[in-house]
Amino acid sequence: MQISGKITDLHDGQLLPFSTVYIIETGKGTVADSLGNYVLRGLCPGNYTLHCSHLGSDEIVYYIELRDDLLMNIHPEIHAEELGISEIQGEMDQEFRNQNLSKIESQQLDELSGKSLAESLKTIIGVQSLNTGSSISKPVIRGLHSNRIIILNNGVRQEGQQWGNEHAPEIDPFIADEIELIKGASSVRFGPDALGGIVLLKPKALPDSVGIDAKLSLSAFSNGQQGVSSGLIQGKFKALMPLSWRLQGTLKRSGNVQAPGYYLKNTGMNERNFSWAMQWKKKNYGIDAFYSQFNSIIGIFSAAHIGNLSDLQLAFDADQPLESADFTYEIARPRQELNHELFKLNGYVKAGDKGKLLWTYARQYNLRMEYDKHLPLNDSLAALNLPALQFEITTHSAELVWEHYTYRSFKGSLGIAGLYQFNTYEGRFFIPFFEKNNMGIFWLERWNRPDSKLEVEAGLRYDLTNQQVFIWQDDVLTNPEYQYRNISANIGILYYFKEASSLRLNFAKAWRPPHVSEMYSNGLHHGSATVEYGDVNLKEEEVLTGSLALIHSIKKAGINIEIYHNYFSNFIVLQPELPPTLTIRGAFPTYRFAQVQARMNGMDAELYYDLTDALKFRSKASFLAAWNKSDNEYLVLMPANRLSQSIEYKFQNKSAQRRFFRFTWDSVFKQNRVPEMSDFVDPPRGYHLLGLSFGADLKYGNQTMSIGLEISNLLNTSYRDYLNRFRYYSDEMGRNIMFRINIPIHVK
């Protein structure tokens, strides 16, 4: 394997010839050629520390987990006029090294273009998705989702109605150039409530050099006749050197999707997103502005709307959905209409060689409108065509962080974060009006000495959360207030016992206040034919987690295994309750939010083996057992165990352009670990899916575009997945053929 790339100035993109690059672990190095190109050959997979130095800049250190040939461009910060001033700045983010960090790199994201965020994240081992039909899907990290994970859109916690199982994250994945995922409660940086993990969508750094860049991504999917186009244009003008800018937008449209043998009625979707970013950067300070808007209309599978239990029974018993359809792009009722806006301002001020002060302010506005299947019977009401239910939530958040540079092998930050949120609703009651205030302080440090095989990272955080609820009861407004305060902490220890092998041990404590939806839900769920009640006496949910990971590689093979244990106190679950609720629509099963002690044990393992230089085999496995200790039964709605194998053939060619052929085989077992009497029907049986993909980089002029063809569910297998809430009503999507093309355009 090899690492190669170009070394250019961080500011103006000027080529930096004859820089030195070397790898500490192998002691081997090289000098870049006259065009700034470098290649380090003959490397085995493993963890490496890469140093790069150039006259006039400080040494840059990159930590690399090498799995495959790596293209890495290095951008030292050169101060032509001020040689000798010490400043370390590399483009690579070195945070979270001591945690279980997985990445979807830019190239991989290109291969996934057009897929939803949750679908993209599923390529990472230990991540599944919780679906509502084919159009709504949200990420599940090791069995945890919704309020138990944090999604960071460009550095800002995504705040919407993420508590709902049928509320997918309102994010355009095309904003990101790279997606990172931290599994488990292992960082307190972004909040105390990352019990399951953190998803970070990272846009590319704004351009440093003068010129205009553009990128166009187009993809087409056969199933649903979906088309996605996304474009980006960015640049910097000579006349205004400190300023860089970017504009980005995405259009997505899909019609009714097809399960093997039939169309799913009203499953189209329509998405229109755009964003812009601006950066003003001087030597000692910088300011960034970012704005994004996400708009979507999502059709909800019609046959999944049911009146009562008898309808549900009929739907179970039917081989095919009771409502049939043909292909159409039209989206009727029931549907969701969503709108999410994010505006962010952030900046930094450098304080000499001590460190820098970073600040962020963000405002988010989220509008969610849910339209029922039927219009009101009353004609004048029907004419208004209003959503049955509408939520508006606005969030203001701000953060101030002092980041100190390495001091006696310690590098870290101290910060304070605040959040203000207000939620309103219109139409049917589901959750009340509420106001939330949160204040947190955190301190993170990392200890790491170049000569040491050990690295330690730790964090501590204290949060104070205040929730005030405004609720109408019999025309009287009451406003109970709830206060929560608690500590979260994490420690991660990384030990390199051999050149390319390491052990990592993590411990953490995380917590979250109960969400208003868990305290105040009160009513009938039409999708699931259940009546749900909240409990106002819920306390904070807490988790203690520990994990141990082994990364070991030999010449042509390697393994990456992590075992974990989560111990929850006051885990919030929906528990069935007797008797069923009797209504004019019949009797409905009743659930109430309750708190239990729970434990989750799991393992994620990955193995790779290079049969030859061209033929690579990779295997992944993830297992999870989740147990409710209080009631001595399994926890409901946990992902089933799964295995995934892939074999990739890489065409060898002189021009070093990527050309590959990949075959994948995913197996999902039946989820047997379910509580008794918790569900209307048994979990669906396990299934196997085959996939095939082909990708190539093509040169045109001096640019490289990439094209790809992918077939998922190759055999058009009929199957149902336990984590799809519409498994009662229909099979999953059938075969889907995707074609994509990603064209970069560079105008100097």
């Binding site: 006349a239 812009w276 009146g307 299947k373 109408w472 209504t583």
Partner: protein
């Protein structure tokens, strides 16, 4: 590259606007910045659309739900006018969920009789109560009532029509021998799919009454 360096140098003297004017490419760049500035101001305009909403509605938000049905009333009139008029009611005054029904009558009928039955649906969460059955009648081509007796000697026929199919707001119940059983009363909402049978559509009402035939 050269220009950029020169620009940086001038800026150091503390007057970058001056440096800007010295630049021979001024006009082109000015134009560029203008385009940029207009693009950005346009974008900011877009943002100005959605305001914070942090007001608690007073009075509370109105439910614009499809319909709230709290009450089902059946009135039985003996066609022979021998047996007394009977009514049977199911009433859940706060709608689905919350507190359960406060009235849930048994249907007590005389054996060997034929009753004309009228069905009324009410929404009693509003005052005065809204008669939902009138709206059902207005949309008769989308609605069908289904009656399923079980365990007792009872036969039920719908006697009204939407022009093509029956509705069920009016029906005739014929009792046989004395005995106890149940009858399930359903309202099916069948927009565009009404075919006279009970299979298609969603269930808006489903109440199982105890039946006592004396």
């Amino acid at each position: 590259m050269k220009c950029c360096k020169c620009f940086r140098g001038k800026r150091k003297r503390g007057n970058w606007i001056h440096a800007f004017e010295l630049n021979p490419l001024k006009h082109i760049e000015m134009k560029n910045s203008h385009i940029l500035l207009s693009v950005i101001s346009l974008s900011i305009l877009f943002q100005a659309c959605k305001k914070d909403n942090n007001e608690v509605d007073n009075p509370p938000p109105v439910q614009n739900e499809e319909e709230v049905i709290t009450t089902l009333q059946l009135t039985f009139i003996d066609q022979a006018a021998i047996a007394p008029v009977v009514t049977a009611t199911f009433r859940d005054p706060d709608g689905d969920g919350g507190i359960g029904p406060d009235i849930f009558d048994d249907i007590v009928l005389q054996n060997g009789s034929v009753y004309s039955v009228t069905l009324v649906l009410l929404n009693e969460t509003v005052s005065p109560a809204d008669t939902i059955s009138i709206e059902v009648l207005e949309e008769a081509d989308e609605h069908l009532f289904c009656f399923s007796p079980l365990g007792c000697d009872l036969s039920i026929l719908r006697t009204d029509s939407d022009g093509t199919y029956e509705i069920g707001l009016e029906s005739a119940w014929t009792t046989g021998v004395a005995g106890n059983g149940t009858v399930k009363v359903e309202l099916k909402h069948q927009p565009d799919v009404k075919d006279g049978t009970c299979e298609p559509g969603d269930t808006d009402v489903e109440v199982v009454f105890e039946v006592i035939i004396e």
